[in-house]
């Protein structure tokens, strides 16, 4: 096994283990911290793909900003394992069934997708994730969707201010 393969399996194990721990932990604060571990593992995958910019932006935006706000809300609401409402057994059963159906759809989609069958991952050679190439692609080929998504963010921000302003 080469170094990259070892790193790949290590990161994948870490990602899967942490995401299971997100679901299994009783304490919401622990769940958030495990989710941060998942983001770190995914950023590691980005670095393996030579997409350093995506890796660090994933950390800054998701692990650094959004998860801090999650943690904020959970700490302020003081959620504990005891205060979490108990669900009925048939609620759990329906949850398992619908989740299983979704998993089946995902697996069949990935298996049948023609775009990714028989293709190799660009390990260490791909360069679209570098800041220069990504910036060029975003501001020339995809400039309209890019600007539209920024308008979407602006409207979300205005909405948050409107909801937060109670007078």
């Amino acid at each position: 096994m080469s170094t990259i393969q070892i790193l790949f399996f290590f990161l994948s194990t870490l990602a899967i283990f942490s995401s299971i721990m997100v679901l299994v932990s009783k304490n919401p604060v622990h769940s958030v911290l495990w989710l941060i571990a998942v983001f770190f593992a995914i950023s590691g995958h980005y670095i393996l793909l030579n997409a350093q910019f995506l890796a660090i932006v994933n950390l800054i935006v998701y692990a650094g900003a959004i998860m801090v706000l999650f943690l904020f809300v959970i700490m302020l609401m003081n959620l504990n394992a005891a205060t979490e409402p108990r669900k009925n057994w048939w609620m759990k059963l329906t949850g398992v069934v619908s989740g299983g159906c979704f998993l089946m759809v995902l697996v069949s989609l990935v298996r049948q997708a023609t775009e990714i069958t028989g293709k190799n991952v660009l390990m260490k050679t791909g360069d679209i994730g570098l800041i220069k190439n990504l910036g060029k692609a975003l501001f020339s080929d995809f400039v309209v969707p890019f600007e539209i998504s920024s308008v979407l963010f602006l409207s979300a921000m205005v909405g948050a201010v409107v909801i937060g302003k109670k007078d």
Binding site: L33, V57, I60, A63, A65, V68, L71, M75, I131
Partner: protein, 349 residues
């Protein structure tokens, strides 16, 4: 020597470099605590610590020994795992910044050219930004896991302060990037060292001031030490901590100070550049050592300014702090960005 298609000598070289830089940072931080007490003493016209050793020079070791020897107390109602994780995270996040700072040019040892920088990654500044945003977790987790209302309050304060000032910090960094056109710290320093070019502070005076204020806020230094406001919150987010865990929190503040000084020196004051001297005329090893000394001088200067401000200006009120961040610094940083962009366009014709 290659095994697993991997240069093991390089790994060894980097490990030694990491060990040297981390221990040197810890040593400098140790004496920064001493310097803080001495500077405070001078500014308040009193002798300061002068009992342990000549001029009180062994005082930091006495302080460290005291912290280590104290009883380790974990509160009954605390969340044990996270209570221990908090100080560790604070310390790790503080030390991680040193990986991308170019400490000096390269030295030649045993026929190998060794760059005095752990990793010259092409996203250097963003890496620093990411590490800074991780630093919040040490405070938040520690404050929450203590299961103390005052700790929680100050942890939330610290986190919201850090998030607010990160924005202005990022915006002032963008202006620097527009001038330099590169995210790698070594490239930025090399550009400032090149003949005929000035330090970035000459192109970005406003950006420098914004960055300086934000760095002070990110380090939780007075006048921005709201998370530790004694008269409102008893002692702050590390109230329940004792022994070396408390020491880690206090110590990480000093390491943060040194690292942010190093980043500011690299971004705005030419890093390891010696003014009015062409380094390429010197032998490479001499140039590297002189450059390291120049960078250390700049760091010491910044650390002194941090302390000077701490013992001169009183603490902000919380709403004043938020007003300064959101209503002054962010618009100023945006304005700075616009001016820089317009200027670059005008220069290009």
């Amino acid at each position: 020597m290659t095994l697993l298609a991997f240069d093991w000598i390089l790994l060894l070289e980097k490990l030694i470099l990491i060990a040297i830089i981390v221990f040197a940072s810890l040593g400098i931080a140790l004496y920064t605590t001493f310097a803080e007490r001495k500077v405070a003493a001078i500014l308040q016209d009193r002798p300061g610590p002068n009992r342990a050793g000549p001029f009180g020079l062994f005082q930091p070791f006495a302080d460290g020994l005291k912290l280590i020897m104290k009883e380790e107390i974990i509160p009954n109602t605390a969340n044990k795992a996270l209570f221990v994780l908090g100080p560790g995270l604070a310390m790790t996040a503080a030390l991680m910044t040193c990986a991308v700072i170019p400490w000096s040019s390269s030295v030649e040892l045993f026929g190998r050219k060794i760059d005095l920088q752990i990793a010259d990654i092409n996203i250097g500044i963003l890496y620093i930004f990411g590490v800074v945003s991780m630093g919040v977790y040490g405070i938040m987790i520690g404050g929450w896991a203590s299961n103390n209302k005052f700790s929680l309050m100050s942890a939330l304060r610290g986190a919201s302060q850090a998030i607010s000032y990160e924005l202005a910090m990022g915006l002032s960094l963008i202006a620097v990037l527009m001038v330099s056109g590169s995210l790698s710290l070594r490239t930025i320093v090399d550009q400032q060292m090149a003949a005929g070019s000035m330090w970035n502070i000459a192109y970005q005076p406003l950006g420098f001031i914004i960055f300086f204020v934000c760095a002070m806020a990110e380090c939780n230094r007075t006048p921005f030490d709201l998370p530790e406001a004694e008269n409102e919150l008893n002692f702050g987010y590390h109230q329940e901590y004792s022994s070396m865990k408390l020491g880690f929190y206090l110590f990480s503040e000093y390491i943060n100070m040194i690292m942010s000084s190093a980043v500011m020196a690299s971004l705005f004051l030419g890093g390891f550049d010696i003014p009015f001297l062409d380094e390429s005329t010197l032998a490479p090893n001499t140039a590297a050592i002189l450059g390291l000394l120049a960078l250390l001088t700049k760091i010491v200067f910044f650390v002194f300014v941090f302390m000077w401000i701490r013992w001169t200006i009183p603490r902000f009120r919380y709403d004043q702090l938020m007003d300064l961040g959101w209503k002054s610094l962010i618009p100023l940083a945006l304005f700075n960005m616009l001016i820089t962009g317009a200027f670059i366009l005008w220069r290009q014709g």
